[in-house]
């Protein structure tokens, strides 16, 4: 939840999605543009495994993730000359690989996604929730046993891709709202709304599995 606090003179501070802290990106970019062999080595060693890990989370499939990673680097190398440093190198690369992943997802949807509207909470005229939040089983136990994490992995797959991907980028990868907005070419506010809906829908999908058995 901690975002970059340093002010940046040019453009927006776009944070650090897949970067490691000791990389001087500006210097690395300059060397890449100069086609310094060692810079390519450093670039690939720094980012390839991270890009692949992210692609695998989003694609869900190792082959698609490997393809997307390879295509992302191809795209990055092809457009490197045009990289203007307005966003961070890591954000730029993230944006490229996410778009490769989204193309892959579009061509192979594993199963029909749930309808989000049916999962979102509804309210009475007086503002009360139509259905009160159910009692879940003890969270500490479900967390400690790993059962909640398992359920989350499983139910996440049922969300429509553009909700699932926002959840992964924001809540797993830890990108800031601004970074996600940059990746999707959307406003930060649109991202916030989508993220909130996605979290609410995922919670609703977990409800039947987490509901406490009634003692009657």
């Amino acid at each position: 939840m901690t975002h970059g606090t340093e002010p940046t003179p040019v453009g927006k501070q776009l944070g650090t999605p897949i970067v490691q802290p000791d990389v001087d990106e500006a210097e690395l970019v300059a060397r890449l543009k100069a086609r310094d062999e060692r810079a390519f080595e450093e670039f690939e060693r720094t980012y390839a495994a991270r890009v692949f890990a992210m692609a695998k989370r989003i694609c869900g499939d190792e082959h698609d993730a490997a393809d997307a990673t390879q295509e992302a680097f191809a795209g990055a190398y092809r457009t490197l000359a045009g990289f203007d440093g307005r966003s961070k190198l890591s954000t730029w690369l993230t944006r490229i690989v996410i778009n490769k992943c989204l193309v892959k997802l579009r061509t192979r949807r594993r199963r029909p996604a749930v309808s989000l509207d049916e999962l979102l909470p509804t309210f009475e005229a007086d503002g009360h929730a139509t259905v009160p939040a159910p009692h879940w089983r003890r969270l500490e136990e479900e967390e400690a046993s790993g059962r909640l994490a398992e359920l989350v992995r499983e139910q996440l797959e049922r969300l429509p891709d553009h909700y699932r991907v926002v959840l992964i980028l924001r809540d797993v990868q830890g990108l800031s709202t601004e970074e996600v907005a940059h990746v999707f070419d959307e406003t930060p506010n649109a991202v916030k709304i989508r993220l909130h809906r996605a979290r609410q829908a995922l919670k609703a999908l977990l409800d039947p599995h987490m509901r406490q058995e009634k003692m009657s």
């Binding site: 897949i18 390519f40 495994a49 159910p134 809540d171 916030k192």
Partner: protein, 107 residues
């Protein structure tokens, strides 16, 4: 609702619908003080919303742990390799790195 209230001195009354709408800003610490106080007040009085907030936060925490993220370290990937002690994800498939290498623009 119909009576005239002195806004500066009346506490804000939130419904569950309001609480659900402000929830995201609440947990990210983006609510203004007055709204935050109203949110806390609603939680104090509404057990359903207390559960909802706790469950919403649990989902966020579980997202991270469900994908091998521990203490903000994604994947435990260190220096392009994988630190499996940190519960990392599988390393890259064989040949991927050399495939990427072959894509470098030639000097």
């Amino acid at each position: 609702m119909s009576d005239q209230k002195d806004e500066a001195h009346q506490p804000i009354d939130l419904t569950c619908r309001d609480a659900y709408a402000f929830l995201q800003a609440y947990i990210e610490g983006e609510l203004q003080a007055a709204l935050r106080a109203a949110f806390d007040q609603h939680l104090a009085e509404c057990s359903s919303c207390r559960r909802y907030v706790a469950q919403y936060e649990a989902v966020i925490a579980a997202m991270r742990s469900s994908h091998g993220v521990v203490d903000g370290v994604v994947d435990g990937v260190v220096d392009g390799g994988v630190d499996s002690a940190a519960g990392g994800v599988p390393a890259m498939p064989q040949g991927l790195l050399s495939a990427i290498r072959s894509l470098r623009p030639v000097a």
